[in-house]
Structures are given as structure tokens and as C-alpha cells.
Symmetry: C2
Subunit: 329 residues, 2 copies
């Protein structure tokens, strides 16, 4: 086998992170440094053709600005809300991008730049980015969770995404924690996501009318309240808000204990608005995890917060591209 | 790289499956065929030195009988109740083999035969055997469960054992299914194992005194009843026994739904006495799984029974040895 050595800081990747509202388009080098990025509106109702025209335009601008030659750019790598059909290169189902299901996400970039294009679920890319250069750097077995509209999860083994036989797995928000619990968006009952997603947290706030009436959260409606505001109220000492966060940590910890017994991870990385500037969720998740998981595994697992912020999916896209590009050599 | 080609039917492995009561010693070829095996008593209280003297004697007898030359035997491969310290080569903790914790399981065989010895958890080897040549043959992503004294589990990816960062993972019986459920042997509450292990099944039988009084199971004590007898009573139409098995299937299915969302497996293999000659557990597990897991994953996952019987751990030991022996080339 010939060992291919390249100077990774002199070679580049085109990266794209498609979201329901915004899409981030970036240029990075193969060491994982994002040199330039732009945020554009996704406008789901205008369709994917229109979005990709704009993406290609932005990328061409980057290439011009950095005076890159064709051979300096190895691949493009795209993150998208999933689940994705990795074989077809298309979205199978996404609430925010409905109607995009037949569209091949790889083709426009392959046609425009004549380089391979790779796609992956955005939560998996964010986890991979954190594992490669963020809170999981140097670790072998990394799990990542993002508490947001849903509960995103990623399983990263040796800086590679694990997503099961057909790439639909690693749905870590959809572990059942109470089999008779509330209905989840996935139509199961009692998933972790049904308790600790934004919707799950708000449901728990407005369910407990009596306690809510004594809380500063009482001034919000279900439309105006957000998990971040719950977190702010807790920081101000609001007892009800503190309890909601403690419970959130406990639910998360129940799941993390199972995941620890299953994956024997080195580090579990937590992200999302509610984790920021507030240790309550993290501490209670840790406590519950240590109470429940096998000691031999729980004693070594580190619970960490995300480090790369919004760049995580772009950095993960570079690493995923590298894995797949060189995986085929 | 030089490609090493060997005629696998002409090369051999020494395999050992240590159990709490019996130890099986075998000789197999590298295609996974067990040519000869002997069962000996483990006698835990006599210690590991004594057991390994007997193991080595049996293996020397096999080598003589088959007129094997030193260079025909590539490695020895051992399965043991776990968790194991794969680095030290020793048992970290086993209820049935307590006091064996300092003993290096690899050394006696390495010293006697001057070939590498490999060790692995017995449940993982059984799963690997089934994945390689049994009910999971040709499948990429395989999960295996054995319902017995405990609930053993294995995660097999491309015919390789996945067991997490330090090899303690894949404890699939210790996923929490009811966080406030009964105490488990692992000291967590509400693990799958607490419901569907032999002890969990018997607990559920004797807990429901009223229904039990009308059942043919009523003639047994907690000392004389076994899950297999519950299964036999169900076959005879005993309603209470049937309900116990339906519930067993439901508990298992709750966990299998989570595992399907996590691993996106091609096949889930079920084994153990209670699964034999009786479809109730299997059918109810399937039903619950299909109700709860993501359709895109549940529609393709196959639920199968073990095919290799008692040979599974020995065959898995051959494959694990092959993976590790050639993994280092």
C-alpha cells in the first residue's frame, strides 16, 4: 500500500450545514479549521434547487477570495436534518424540509465542482466534530446529545460515525425511559425526547399549574416560554424552574446510565441552549448516571459540555469527508 | 501489503468456554467447524490452576488424536463469564467464579502451546458465533440476547464484537425499562434483567399469589420452578403461565424498540431455555418492538432464534481469535 501524505493545511473542503431556518456554507482546511463561513436563509418553501444555487454561488465566492486551485479542494461535505437515505443521497423525512424527499443533495455540488460530495445527518456531524477537535478530542468512544427542538444524538467510535446497518440508527433521543409515558413525536410513548426536548420541558412546566402559579415563569404562555428562559429563571433562584431542571437532569441521567452500560463511553458530550450557563441539568444527570450504571464504567465516564459551538457540524463535515474520501483508498 | 492466504480448513484453534458449572474444551478449524469437544467440571472452589491443568490435558489429547503439528494450530481462544479486564487477561468480577480475579486466563495456554491466547466475555462470543455462522450469517449489524440466569447481550458489527472503550459495554440486559422498578442484581432499579432473567420471571410468578393459586405452576416452589417449566405450562394452555410469557415478551420488546432506534440492526437473535419450543415471548416482543420503534428501522429488522446451540461460544471463540490474530498483521 502506498501511504498518501498530504499537507492537510493546504488542502480544502467545501462544507454545508442545512437547517430548517438557516443554512451555513463554509470553507475549511483538512485540519478542521473553518476559514470562512456565511449564513443564508434556507427558505424551505422555495425548494432545494434554489437553495443549492445560492450555496454554489457562496462557495464559488470563497474559492475566488482564497485564490484556490481546483486540485486544492478534495471534496464537499453536507449535513442535513435526517433520517437520510445515504445510498440515494436524499432526505427520507424531515418536518422542516417536507417536499424535499426526492432531491439528491450530492448531485448539485458534484456537478458544480467535479469533486466527490458526502452527506450525513447533522446531529451525527456535530457529534463527530466534537469528538475530533472538541470536548471529545483524543477519546475513543464518544456519545453526544443536543437538547433542542428534539434530542439529537451521535455515537462516535474512533472518530467515525456509527449509525447502524442502513444509517438510520443513533436515534439516542428515542430510548424509552417510561414505557407508559407521554406520546413522543416519533409515536412511541415515554421516549427521552418526550421529557427533555423543548416541547417536553414546556409540557412539564404547564402541566403543573399549581406550582407554576407561584413561579416567575407564570407570566409566559406556552408560545413565549423557551427552555433557555426556564434556565434563566432557575439562575434567579425560582424554585419551580430549578425543579424542572433537576427533573430534566434526572430523566437524562436515566438514559445516560443505560447508554453507559451499552457503550462503555469515555465521554458523554452535552449541548443545546438549556445546558449553557447552568450546571443543574448536568449535575443531576451525572448523579443519576452514577447511581444507576455499572460502577466499573460510570467511574471513568466524563460528562462534558460542547466546545465547538455552531462550528461543530461544519468541522464534523470535514472529518466525515476525510473518513469517507480516504476510507475508499 | 502481502496478502496472507491460508487454507482455513487445514489450520486449527484451541477453544475453551468456561462456565460456572461446566467448562467446554474444543478443537476447531478456522472455518468454524468444531471437530471435537469435551465437557469437564469447572469446580470453582478448586481454583483456576486446577481447571487449566485439566483443560491443557484435554487439548493435548485432541492434538494427539488428530495428529496435529505445532504449526497447524494458530491460537487458543477462551470465553469466560465477565466483565473481563482484556488488558490484564483476567476476570474482574463473576458471581460464580469469585476468588479468580487475579488469575491471568491467557498465560497457562500461551505457556503450554506457545501460541497467542485470546479472551472474551462468553455472551459476546456466543453472539459473534451466531453472527458469523448462525442466525445472523451474512448480516452487518447483529444484536444477540440470551435469557438465562442473567440476560446476556452482544453487539456484533461486521462479525466483530463491539464492547465499548474498555470492553465492559454491551451489557444489553442492563437497560432501564422502568426507572422505579424492582432492584436488579447490578444494583440499579428496573433493568430489563430484573424482569426477564430467570429470577425476574420467577419473581413475577410468585408475586401474583391470587393468579398463581389457579395455575398448575402452583405445585412448584421458588426453588423448584424454572422458566422452562413456565414455558411448558403455557404450552399446556395454563393461562397464568401464558400471561407471564406475554409480559416477558412485552418487557423484552420495550428494550428491543430502544435498541432498534439506537443500532438499526439487521437481525436480533434470541436464545435461552424460555425461547425454545414456544413462540409467545418472541411474538409479543416483536409486536411491542413494531409498535414502538421507528418504522423505517422496525420494518426491516428480523427477529430470529439462535441456530448454533451450545456450540455458539466455541464458534465465536474461533472467529474472535481470527479477528484479533489477523487484526494485528
Amino acid at each position: 500500500m502506498t501511504i498518501v501524505r498530504i499537507r492537510k493545511e493546504k488542502k480544502y473542503a467545501l462544507v454545508v450545514d442545512i437547517g430548517g431556518t438557516n443554512t451555513v456554507v463554509g470553507l475549511g482546511n483538512l485540519k478542521g479549521k473553518i476559514l470562512k463561513k456565511n449564513k443564508i436563509k434556507t427558505l424551505p418553501e422555495s425548494g432545494p434547487d434554489f437553495l443549492f444555487l445560492k450555496i454554489i454561488n457562496v462557495l464559488k465566492g470563497f474559492i475566488k477570495k482564497f485564490k484556490l486551485k481546483k486540485e486544492d479542494i478534495l471534496f464537499s461535505s453536507i449535513g442535513s436534518p435526517g433520517p437520510l437515505d445515504l445510498k440515494q443521497g436524499s432526505i427520507i423525512h424531515s418536518v422542516n424540509l417536507s417536499g424535499w424527499e426526492k432531491f439528491n443533495l450530492r448531485e448539485p455540488l458534484e456537478a458544480a465542482f467535479k469533486i466527490p460530495a458526502f452527506i450525513e445527518n447533522d446531529a451525527n456531524l456535530a457529534g463527530l466534530g466534537e469528538s475530533w477537535l472538541g470536548a471529545g478530542k483524543g477519546k475513543k468512544m464518544v456519545l453526544a446529545f443536543t437538547l433542542g427542538t428534539g434530542v439529537g444524538g451521535a455515537v462516535i467510535i474512533h472518530d467515525r460515525i456509527f449509525n447502524g446497518s442502513k444509517g438510520y440508527g443513533a436515534e439516542l433521543g428515542h430510548i424509552t425511559i417510561y414505557p407508559d409515558g407521554p406520546l413522543c413525536t416519533c409515536s412511541n410513548h415515554g421516549c427521552l425526547e418526550a421529557y427533555i426536548s423543548a416541547g417536553g420541558i414546556l409540557r412539564r412546566v404547564f402541566e403543573n399549574k399549581k406550582a407554576l402559579s407561584k413561579s416567575i415563569l407564570n407570566k409566559f404562555s406556552i408560545e413565549t416560554l423557551t427552555p433557555f428562559k426556564v434556565s434563566l429563571a432557575a439562575q434567579k433562584g425560582d424554585k419551580f424552574a430549578i425543579n424542572i431542571l433537576k427533573e430534566t437532569g434526572r430523566y437524562l441521567g436515566i438514559a445516560l446510565a443505560s447508554y453507559t452500560n451499552i457503550f462503555n463511553p469515555d465521554v458523554i458530550i452535552l449541548g443545546g441552549g438549556i445546558m449553557k450557563d447552568n450546571k443543574i441539568v448536568q449535575n443531576h444527570a451525572k448523579k443519576e448516571l452514577r447511581k444507576r450504571a455499572f460502577k466499573i464504567m460510570s467511574k471513568d465516564v466524563k460528562i462534558a459540555l460542547t466546545k465547538l459551538g455552531d462550528n461543530a457540524p461544519l468541522i464534523g463535515a470535514i472529518k466525515n469527508g476525510l473518513n469517507l474520501y480516504y476510507g475508499n483508498l
